[in-house]
């Protein structure tokens, strides 16, 4: 286990390892995504109250779940970067931020589209939605901050601090539907106790959540690979990969 973590810090090892992972994870993730979407869109029964608009949850919930988990990944990379000054952690943090931003954006947009036929409005300044909007801006802030600095070490440090401070928002998002009684419904899937959702609707949702996790891992690794090649363009392993030496 420790030797694996140790190896993750080595750019040439990570580049080779992630290349192999991407090769099989890409087709598997796309397959799971299509099966889940097909099941959720066409096979699952409609909700007895919301009708067919509820089918949007098969993308809305996975995007929201993974955008929250992704934030922890980014903040953890930020912490590692601050404490041990491992370059690889900077690269991971930089790679995760745009993916998280897009997933949060998907959660917000699909939520708005679902809100129109269900709540009768595209947007409400409800606690859950507002805290998700803050998450979206935190992700964008990290992306922008990386670009703002000429000195990449200083950029990484500023981004790490921003992402760590932003973690305060994550438990607020989780708990917002319980703390403030609002339009947004509470969680239907629970780790402890009975889920408030029928199996015929739950299975496609679990498939989609798995696919979105796979997608997050995949895109973060692909972003890291593109970044690594550029950082180490003078190194012999990159030149070897490009077909020289």
């Amino acid at each position: 286990m420790w030797s694996f973590i140790h190896k993750l810090g080595s750019p040439p090892w990570f580049f080779r390892f992630s290349g192999n992972v991407v090769k099989w994870l890409l087709p598997v993730t796309i397959a799971v995504l299509f099966v889940g979407a097909f099941w959720g869109l066409l096979v699952a029964p409609p909700d007895y109250r919301q009708g067919n608009s509820y089918r949007i949850i098969y993308i809305h919930v996975p995007a929201a779940v993974v955008s929250l988990a992704g934030y922890y990944v980014m903040a953890l990379a930020g912490a590692i970067s601050l404490i041990w000054r491992i370059k690889m952690a900077d690269i991971a943090m930089k790679a995760a931020a745009p993916v998280g931003a897009v997933l949060t954006g998907i959660a917000l947009v699909t939520g708005a589209i679902w809100g129109k036929p269900t709540w009768g409005t595209w947007w409400v300044w409800d606690a859950r939605i507002t805290s998700m909007l803050i998450l979206f801006f935190l992700y964008l802030g990290v992306v922008a901050l990386f670009e703002a600095y000429e000195n990449k070490a200083a950029a990484a440090k500023a981004c790490a601090v921003l992402s760590l401070v932003g973690t305060v928002n994550i438990p607020i998002i989780y708990k917002s539907v319980d703390w403030w009684y609002s339009l947004h419904q509470p969680a239907s899937i629970k780790f402890t106790g009975e889920s408030a959702i029928d199996a015929s609707m739950l299975y496609p949702l679990l498939l989609m959540i798995t696919a979105f996790y796979g997608l997050f891992a995949l895109v973060v690794m692909m972003n890291m690979r593109a970044d690594l090649v550029w950082h180490h363009r003078q190194s012999s392993w990159v030149r070897q990969w490009a077909g020289f030496e």
Partner: protein
């Protein structure tokens, strides 16, 4: 299968426009997420190959040609960096 015809799938009892719009936006964004790093990696590989060729060429050339190729390289690099 819940729906019995393609029109029913498209219409979804009046919710079709919302459902399909949400899925379309998501698919476009996810495709972009997957496509953009692979394009970036390909672009950078081409750059690394081109730079290695230029370097190999300049070691065989006159000093004058070398400075020219170095200048060309630095403008290339500046362009790459502005393109991100």
């Amino acid at each position: 299968m819940y729906f019995d015809s393609l029109t029913a799938v498209a219409h979804m009892d009046g919710h079709g426009i919302y459902v399909w719009l949400a899925y379309a936006i998501t698919m476009v964004l996810l495709s972009w997420l997957l496509w953009s790093p692979s394009r970036e990696l390909r672009k950078r590989k081409l750059w690394i190959v081109a730079e290695a060729r230029r370097r190999a060429a300049s070691t065989n050339a006159t000093p004058e040609a070398e400075t020219q190729s170095e200048q060309a390289m630095s403008t290339d690099r500046a362009q790459m960096e502005t393109q991100g």
